[in-house]
Amino acid sequence: MEITLTHYLILSTLLFAIGLIGVMRRTNLLMLFFATEILLNAVNIGFAAISRYYGDLTGQMFAFFVIAIAASEVAVGLGLLIVWFKRSGGIDLTTMTSMKG
């Protein structure tokens, strides 16, 4: 069976759904980061596949941007996470309610 664009898009969608569920359900901050990474990379798959399909490099370039931004985001996020862990001794989301309205 030949692998077509549709397959890539289905894969991308599935990964995105997994990431979304992770984002919504996880209460561990570290796991939340993982889920976010899955979301971003799901989109990257889509970009790369469509870029290849149309023979246009723009999508792949965009995927590189996303990777770079994701890396910096994780760097900052993990830094904050460590500080938070040192202060409060846990990284459970349910304990972080200082922004309660």
């Binding site: 919504m24 989301l93 349910t94």
Partner: protein, 626 residues
């Protein structure tokens, strides 16, 4: 000459602004001195302009700057000094300079001394804008400016309920009339495409008669408000609540004559519509008589003079309405001098009597107030129109105009009014200055005003005496360059002399009767019970009528609108919208529980919702288009 024009126009403004800087401070003498000096500068500049124009100079026309320019609309700040406006400028600056100097003495003990001068100079500036503008828009700005300053000065003693009431009455009545004026201006702009005087007067001949009649009527409605003609006359008598110098300057000499000035200025228009002119003249004659009759029995010194002003304004409108514009302007000028003098004299008397206004409580004041007595008598003689004082030349001329134009009814009315005028003027003089010293019963200790106040008044006294015979010739030569130069001569010399001498005799008799009757007046209780006295004393019940049939129903209507419409519909709608947002916030603020997971779920839900909407919208568009 442009420099003098700007000096004449802007020095009152400068004075006003300087005085306004100290407006909230306690009395500082120099505000009075500075404003008076700047007014003097304005007077000197106006005089230079007058001599320039008298010497045959061309009218000075400047365009200071553009005011409005959008599309076809172009209104500049332009000023014009021609024969008519220079006459008005002289009247305004002479009277206001005198009044300013006089006020330094009159307002001596007032704690709002500085505020008074700020407003008074601001008034003069507005009046100068009014008379000097070269277009109707600028005239309207001045028109509103004098209205505003008049409001502030009538209500100058704002702690008095009656003063505030009178100020508001004057302002509101003027606003009603100004609406008419505005409509007139819109009609002019609509039909001519410009508000410049020269453009409009050129176009007058080409316009439709009915349009001209409309414009003429609406402009005259504006004039009726400012000049307090019937039925918008009630504010003028109530405006006497203001300080007396204000009455002298605004409500006798200048602002109230703005209506006459408007008609004189728009003479090419009124030339074309003699029927409107005739209406103006008839109303003027009616008001002359009507106001004079109210002055006959009134017991308030200032109100008597105010009614007299009203009556004289009526005379001016008769002349203007009959096409004798230069006569109207001449009477305006002469009247400004002697009426301002009369008011300032009344101010002296008020000061002497500690603000007592009832002449029946005075009497015999000529012993203590010799200067004031002489000046007020002079002013009254001039007002009555006795030869050779100013009033004779201007007022008799109006009578002649009415006679020559074959309006014998108007003539008779005016003749009778002239007698009434003489009577009430000398009733006042007799009551105040002659007879027993009734004030002693009321414990007053009258004293003459400051000498400098009397000196300040003396130019007016001089003008009241000489303005007629000294200026008439050169005045006519000057203004007939721009106003229709109709000569009014009774053809037969016999008729002429009968008229002149007859009028003089009648007026003289009225004066003698007034002296005889009021020399030793006691308040006549029986006379006061007569119905005719009551009607006159209550001003024909017109203020009562306005109160009962206009103010009260209006108040009722406002009350209903407030309770039913405003509270129930407008407020309820606005409150409803506010409550909606408040309640929504109340219900949804639990979303903000600070938990990141919950927020992320809401975010996902929002994204899904937006996507769904986007899809639905796109599909919808393609279905509709498809």
């Amino acid at each position: 000459m442009e420099l003098y024009l700007y000096l004449a126009l802007f020095s009152p403004l400068a004075g006003s602004l300087i005085a306004a800087l100290f407006g909230a401070r306690p009395k500082t003498l120099f505000t009075g001195v500075v404003t008076s000096a700047l007014l003097g500068l304005s007077l000197v500049s106006s005089t230079i302009l007058l001599f320039y124009i008298l010497g045959g100079g061309a009218a000075v026309h400047v365009e200071m700057m553009t005011w409005m320019a959008t599309g076809d609309l172009y209104i500049p700040f332009g000023f014009l000094v021609d024969q008519v406006s220079v006459t008005m400028m002289m009247v305004v600056t002479v009277v206001s300079t005198v009044v300013h100097v006089y006020s330094i003495g009159y307002m001596d003990h007032d704690k709002s001394f500085n505020r008074f001068f700020a407003w008074l100079s601001a008034f003069v500036f507005s009046m100068m804008v009014l008379v000097m503008s070269d277009n109707f828009a600028g005239l309207f700005i001045g028109w509103e400016g004098v209205g505003l300053c008049s409001w502030a000065l009538i209500g100058f003693w704002y702690h008095k309920e009656s003063a505030i009431w009178a100020a508001n009455e004057a302002f509101i009545m003027n606003r009603i009339a100004d609406l008419g004026m505005l409509i007139g201006l819109f009609l002019i702009y609509w039909n001519v495409g410009s508000l410049q005087y020269d453009r409009f007067f050129e176009a007058v001949v080409t316009l439709d008669q009915s349009v001209l009649v409309m414009i003429g009527i609406f402009l005259f409605i504006g004039a009726m408000g400012k000049s307090a003609q019937f039925p918008l006359h009630t504010w003028l008598a109530d405006a006497m609540e203001g300080p007396t110098p204000v009455s002298a300057l605004i409500h006798a000499a200048t602002m109230v004559t703005a209506g006459v000035y408007l008609v004189v200025r728009a003479n090419p228009l009124y030339e074309m519509i003699p029927e409107v002119g005739y209406f103006v003249a008839s109303l003027g004659a009616f008001v002359a008589m009507f106001a004079a009759s109210m002055a006959l029995v009134n017991r308030d010194m200032k109100r008597i003079i105010a009614y007299s002003t009203l009556s004289q304004l009526g005379y001016m409108f008769v002349a203007a309405g009959l096409g004798a514009y230069w006569v109207a302007l001449f009477h305006l000028m002469a009247h400004a001098f002697f009426k301002a003098l009369l008011f300032l004299g009344a101010g002296n008397v008020m000061h002497a009597m500690s603000d007592e206004l009832d002449p029946f409580k005075m009497g015999g004041l000529k012993k203590v107030m010799k200067g004031t007595w002489i000046m007020m008598t002079l002013a009254s003689v001039a007002l009555a129109g006795i030869w050779p004082l100013a009033g004779f030349f201007s007022k008799d001329l109006i009578l002649e105009v009415a006679f020559v134009e074959h309006h014998y009814v108007l003539y008779t009315v005016l003749l009778l009014t002239a007698m009434l005028t003489a009577f009430y003027s000398f009733r006042l003089v007799a009551l105040i200055f002659h007879g027993e010293e009734r004030y002693k019963e009321y414990g007053s200790h009258p004293h003459e005003a400051y000498t400098f106040m009397l000196i300040a008044m003396s130019p007016l006294a001089l003008l009241a005496v000489i303005a007629g015979f000294a200026f008439k010739g050169s005045y006519i030569d000057m203004v007939t360059a721009v106003l229709p130069a109709t000569e009014y001569h009774v053809h037969s010399p016999v008729v002429f002399w009968i008229m002149v001498i007859g009028t003089q005799l009648l007026v003289g008799a009225a004066i003698a009767y007034a002296y005889k009757k009021y020399q030793n007046a006691k308040i006549d209780k029986a006379f006061e019970q007569r119905p005719c006295y009551k009607v006159l004393f209550n001003q024909y019940y017109i203020p009562h009528f306005y109160e009962e049939y206009i103010s009260k129903p209006y108040r009722e209507l406002s009350h209903v609108a407030w309770k039913q419409l405003d509270l129930r519909v407008v407020d309820a709608t606005v409150d409803g919208i506010a409550t909606l947002f408040y309640k929504t916030g109340e219900q949804t603020h639990t979303m903000q529980n600070g938990n990141l997971s919950t927020m992320l779920r809401w975010m996902v839900a929002g994204t899904v919702l937006l996507l769904a909407l986007g899809v639905a919208f796109t599909v919808g568009i393609s279905v509709v288009a498809g």
